[in-house]
């Protein structure tokens, strides 16, 4: 008879059916945001999403969802409809996201390497730590110009310049009999602090940056170079990178449009939603001063992906998330279309 096999890996698992074709459903717990969309989509009610609030807040050692492999028919709908690709469904080792007949979300996050100035603002802001901007800085010595020299006969090897130098460019050996002073010109920025602090005027130095900088320094050496990398597995297309990028190099296309409403009267400020939100949309607002009132929970809706994880986790039903528009590729299957459209009536 045809039966599914289940292989548990850490908190994730694989469910597999090998017959005419090999169908495999992989769950990646570290990617799952606990929105519950798979649970409400599954046509055979095989999926049970856990209580995400406690799981996330207590860093509990249990998976965010369970799939009953006896009930699962390996149709792949949960994979197709998961907004963050925590469930990967393959047929004969080919992901359905690469098979044209299966519908998929139209969503993307990209950083244009031509425009990017490698400031790493997006890397720092990304709530999912999905962005890496490796960069190489310009060589400091190429951005300064000047001259520096020590008169070894005058130098008393007191080490004051060594201690004062802000760039660690000077190395003084003070051991009697072994005295020496070395200046590393690759590190020196000609700030002249050594010259000014030397008690015996042994250092001659001049900075040319102001007067001859235009001739001495090639500004193309001042450019920071680098690249950008977005981890497609963890990226949830929340839009933080796009909002924060100072040069508009990041572009995000979301799969859902929708609304996020918080009933401040029902909210008990437990903070579960803040911990659960994968996009850092929610926060406790800071008071503007004495005798002012702020909402219990604040939102920055421009980062919201309308996944509904907060609504699901809220213990007092204070949050209402609605999806008003779903962007996905066309399919001939009515049942699949129905499932995507049903997201608007969650």
């Amino acid at each position: 008879m045809i039966a599914n096999t289940k292989e548990v890996k850490d908190k994730g698992f694989d469910i597999k059916r090998s017959a005419e074709e090999i169908r495999n459903l992989s769950f990646k717990d570290h990617v799952c945001i606990g929105c519950g969309i798979c649970e409400s989509t599954c046509p055979v009610e095989a999926i049970k999403v856990g209580n995400i609030g406690p799981i996330v807040r207590n860093e509990m050692d249990i998976p965010k969802l369970e799939i009953d492999e006896e009930k699962c028919v390996l149709c792949g709908m949960c994979s197709g409809i998961c907004p963050v690709n925590a469930l990967d469904f393959t047929i004969d080792n080919k992901s359905i996201s690469d098979i044209d007949t299966y519908p998929k979300y139209i969503a993307s996050a990209e950083i244009d390497d031509e425009t990017c100035i490698h400031c790493q603002r997006c890397e720092v802001a990304c709530p999912r730590e999905a962005i890496t901007i490796p960069r190489s800085l310009p060589e400091r010595s190429k951005l300064v110009t000047g001259e520096i020299e020590v008169n070894e006969d005058t130098c008393i090897h007191c080490g004051i310049c060594d201690e004062m130098c802000p760039t660690d460019a000077i190395d003084v050996n003070r051991i009697p009999g072994e005295e020496s002073i070395l200046i590393n010109k690759d590190k020196c920025v000609y700030c002249l602090i050594c010259k000014k602090s030397c008690p015996v005027n042994a250092i001659k130095a001049a900075c040319r940056s102001c007067s001859y900088g235009e001739y001495d320094i090639d500004m193309s050496d001042a450019v920071t170079t680098g690249s950008s990398f977005i981890d497609d597995e963890t990226c949830v297309k929340c839009g933080w990178c796009e909002e924060i990028c100072p040069v508009d190099a990041a572009k995000v296309k979301k799969q859902f449009k929708g609304t996020l409403n918080i009933d401040q009267d029902k909210c008990t400020t437990c903070g579960t939603c803040i911990d659960v939100c994968p996009c850092d949309v929610l926060s406790f607002p800071e008071s503007a001063g004495p005798a002012t009132r702020v909402p219990n929970v604040g939102k920055e809706e421009q980062y919201c992906i309308h996944c509904g994880a907060c609504e699901r986790a809220c213990p007092t039903d204070a949050i209402d998330v609605k999806i008003t528009d779903v962007d996905y590729t066309p399919t001939k299957s009515k049942s699949w279309v129905d499932k995507f459209e049903a997201l608007k009536n969650r």
Binding site: I2, R17, A19, E20, E21, R23, P43, V44, V73, L74, C75, G76, M77, I91, T101, Y102, T331, K332, S333, K334, S335, W336
Partner: protein
């Protein structure tokens, strides 16, 4: 005993193929048996008539029982498929509703290889379909209807 019934089924298949105009060599190739055995079959030798009676009973059972019984006699899906497709008495047409989710269970369940997925929907080849309803019974969304459109069974209907 099961072997004899299996031979009985092969005999019936040989007769059917003969009716369709297959010569002895073609029948032998089709059923993967010796030509001499085919010759014996067609001349009414080398087989107990009782086995043939039982084999006839098997072919006239309901399609699912015919299929499963044949499968358990031959223990070989390819041979089962051949015998059933040659000896089946009825024709079927399938309807798949839009509620089909393309889980492919029917594809895996069908011993006759009659089902395939096309544009995320099951497609059932009525020429291959033996009417066993295994696909319909296994369908998680109840999307399959199998309709009997022709019945040539020899037994009298009650």
């Amino acid at each position: 005993m099961p072997k004899h019934i299996a031979s009985g089924l092969k005999y019936l298949a040989a007769i059917e193929l003969k009716k369709k105009g297959f010569n002895q060599q073609l029948i032998a190739d089709e059923l993967e048996i010796d030509r001499s055995t085919v010759s014996h079959y067609l001349n009414g030798r080398n087989l107990s008539w009782n086995s043939i009676d039982v084999a006839k009973t098997v072919t006239s059972m309901c399609p699912k029982d015919f299929l499963i019984m044949t499968q358990s006699l031959f223990k070989d899906t390819d041979k089962t498929r051949k015998i059933v497709s040659i000896c089946k008495n009825n024709e079927f047409e399938a309807e798949v509703a839009d509620s089909c989710i393309a889980c492919g269970l029917c594809v895996d369940l069908c011993l006759m290889k009659a089902v395939s997925l096309n544009s995320l929907k099951a497609q059932i080849d009525s020429i291959c379909c033996c009417g066993c309803l295994l696909c319909k019974e296994g369908c998680p969304t109840n999307s399959i209807k199998i309709l009997e459109v022709k019945n040539d069974r020899e037994y009298e209907r009650g």
